[in-house]
């Protein structure tokens, strides 16, 4: 239903020259997948789609247009709109060049979970209503279905948009179920955590899919690839993999919008979003701050106040 509204909207925006191009999600020839779609002619809207597999954070593509004059329409979920807000605040793009098509989101569906828990199923069997996920009319725990990062989503509605397509969500899976992806990791002892992350880090091949899918990793030259000076060895050994991911995590502190695009991009299934998510959890608790939820507040790491909390630094 929303697909036809989206298509009409995209066509109208192009026809009336409100924008020069539309960045949205396109359907894929494979089931349960979508892909980023660039539309600059009306007829290209044919494959435009919106479903719980639209996992890319499209704000990532705005960096291509930083120095162009294009007016851009962008499809944004709650997390994507937060990324746009951070980019606006960091002066990476001007608001007047953007037309944000807001998409209330009940969480992304994890393909692996779907096929494991509900083999031989189709997406029509699932529905979000009355603050819950239903499978063939029966209420199910969303942890059976959703991306882990979506289970802790606090902003199912876009925080900034020009037009909203679909009914705004009254609450998110997190608000209803209070399941936190980080809890099992938090409850481990320091030694267990070290062992767990050492194992995960030994899997990393340093393809940089996590960094490149992130809307807020837009450095001209990433420290990880700098050779003068060289901070990180190009060899994908656990120590330097750790270094890369931890420095990236600190660069994201107070900026990460918790979309989980990095984790979904990882080709070797490292739960890599847990690192920035943990930092954001600390910032939420200690500084009462969430990145990309408004245009006024200053990110904690960009300012200094005498009464800044410091007890959490151990």
């Amino acid at each position: 239903m929303f697909e036809s509204i989206l298509k009409e909207l995209a066509k109208k925006l192009l026809r009336e020259k409100t924008v020069d191009l539309v960045i949205g999600y396109g359907s894929s020839q494979y089931p349960f997948r979508t892909e980023p779609l660039l539309i600059n002619k009306e007829e290209q809207v044919a494959t435009l789609t919106w479903n719980p597999f639209c996992g890319n954070n499209l704000a990532r593509y705005l960096k291509y247009y930083k120095n162009t004059q294009h007016k851009i329409a962008l499809m944004v979920k709650g997390c994507d709109s937060r990324a746009v807000q951070v980019l606006l605040k960091e002066d990476q793009i001007k608001r007047e060049r953007l037309y944000l098509i807001g998409l209330p989101c009940s969480g992304l569906v994890n393909q692996e979970k779907l096929l494991k828990q509900f083999p031989q199923t189709s997406l029509e069997d699932f529905e979000w209503k009355e603050s819950g996920w239903f499978y063939q009319g029966k209420k199910i725990n969303p942890s059976l279905l959703l991306e882990e990062t979506c289970l802790r989503c606090r902003h199912p509605n876009p925080t900034e948009y020009d037009e909203l397509v679909g009914e705004p969500m009254t609450d998110s899976p997190y608000q209803v179920y209070q399941q936190d992806y980080l809890e099992p990791v938090d409850s481990l002892s320091a030694e267990e955590r070290w062992n767990r992350w050492s194992k995960e880090m030994s899997k990393c091949i340093r393809c940089y899919a996590c960094r490149n899918s992130c809307p807020l990793c837009y450095c001209q030259e990433c420290f990880a690839e700098s050779t003068q000076p060289q901070w990180v060895s190009p060899a994908p050994i656990p120590s330097d993999n750790f270094l890369f991911h931890l420095v990236r995590t600190m660069h994201m502190a107070g900026r990460c919008v918790e979309c989980g695009a990095c984790e979904r991009a990882c080709p070797v299934s490292i739960p890599i979003a847990q690192l920035p998510l943990k930092v954001e959890a600390i910032i939420r608790e200690q500084f009462q701050f969430e990145a990309g939820t408004d245009q006024e507040s200053t990110a904690p790491l960009l300012t200094y106040q005498e009464n800044d909390p410091g007890d959490f630094i151990k």
């Binding site: 894929s28 020839q29 494979y30 997948r33 979508t34 892909e35 980023p36 779609l37 660039l38 890319n56 990532r60 593509y61 091949i205 340093r206 393809c207 940089y208 899919a209 960094r211 490149n212 899918s213 690839e225 060895s233 190009p234 060899a235 994908p236 050994i237 695009a261 979904r264 991009a265 080709p267 070797v268």
Partner: protein, 334 residues
């Protein structure tokens, strides 16, 4: 050619007794979960057995006003590698051609290659992302030097030309006529189900002629320029060399990817592949044009579909090639 059948228990027993010296790929585990018994045996990709993600080439040290250089010979145990036909084709058809052709033989690769005994598991369950027959392979492709294995109702069918390398063949019982027929039927069925025509012989030159085509820009826009596809590709073989340490250290060889902007960055600051368009075009043309033009029509892609499976933005090399092939066909018609 020596062939026979063996029970699943015996096969698993054989794999287990080799311990750390029996590598199996992720794709094999996906097809035959029973073959998995320990994480240390599983590799993501056949390259990990031959062309490592990082490797020390030699040690160096500045001493008494001169450089002392010490060669490093990799210690290579004799190992088995079990993989699917597409993955093994990556070794025979691509990696061997790159690293073992005179006059430039890659010594570490050569050493590892010589001590590798290859087991091919026939692929009875091709995925929607697979396209091996389009690039000259097929789900039951085999090589006489390797041990070929195919699951059937009564265990596993085995076949090899080198029985001295694979002691398990001694334990194999011979097949009776009905069983032979079953294997033949299985092969036939699979072929009918999966075989597509190989890309036509004019594709490499046709793609070469489309170098300046405007389509590349549209095709490449969504690519994130990460290295997931190239690092997990069984045939991608580009690498980088770095000196680790100033006056004392080692020469380090690591995987590199044509998808990275810095891959082609010159010391002058000029970059001949400045945008996603040039980089994506390079990946496609290297595999589907430059390599076959140089290597008697053998493609640099084995159609395993791994890059399609893991791409964060669903960038589909098969779809792109088919689209460009259509362009070639249309030009011929004109």
């Amino acid at each position: 050619m020596k062939s026979g059948k063996i029970t699943e228990t015996n096969l698993l027993q054989w794999i287990k007794t080799q311990q750390k010296n029996f590598l199996i790929t992720e794709k094999v585990v996906h097809h035959q979960p029973d073959f998995f018994f320990d994480e240390s045996h599983e590799i993501k990709n056949v390259k990990e057995a031959l062309f490592l993600s990082w490797d020390k080439l030699f040690n160096y040290q500045w001493e008494n006003q001169q450089w002392q250089v010490e060669d490093i010979q990799p210690s290579v145990p004799s190992r088995f590698l079990m993989a699917l036909p597409c993955e093994i084709r990556a070794i025979y058809e691509v990696l061997d051609r790159v690293f073992l052709q005179l006059p430039e033989i890659e010594s570490a690769y050569s050493l590892r290659r010589q001590s590798l005994k290859i087991v091919i598991l026939g692929c009875i369950n091709p995925e929607p992302t697979c396209f091996c027959s389009r690039v000259g392979g097929n789900p039951l492709w085999s090589h006489p030097e390797a041990l070929f294995i195919l699951p059937f109702h009564d265990g596993y069918f085995l076949e090899t030309n080198k029985p001295e390398q694979f002691d398990i063949i001694e334990k194999a019982a011979s097949l009776n006529t009905t069983e032979r027929e079953e294997i033949d039927n299985l092969r036939k069925q699979l072929e009918e189900k999966t075989i597509q025509e190989k890309l036509s012989a004019d594709v490499p030159q046709g793609l070469y002629d489309l170098f300046e085509d405007e389509e590349w820009e549209n095709l490449s826009w969504k690519c994130l320029n990460c290295g997931a596809c190239t690092y997990l590709c069984p045939t991608c073989q580009c690498f980088d060399i770095n000196a680790e340490g100033r006056l004392k250290g080692f020469q380090l060889k690591t995987w590199d990817s044509c998808m990275f902007p810095k891959f082609t960055l010159h010391a002058s600051g000029h970059n001949p592949r400045p945008t996603f368009k040039e980089r994506v075009r390079q990946r496609v043309l290297h595999k589907f044009s430059y390599f076959p033009l140089r290597e008697e029509g053998h493609y640099g892609c084995v159609g395993c579909g791994k890059c399609i499976e893991i791409c964060p933005v669903n960038w589909n090399i098969r779809e792109v090639v088919e689209r460009m092939v259509k362009k070639i066909d249309n030009q011929h018609k004109k």
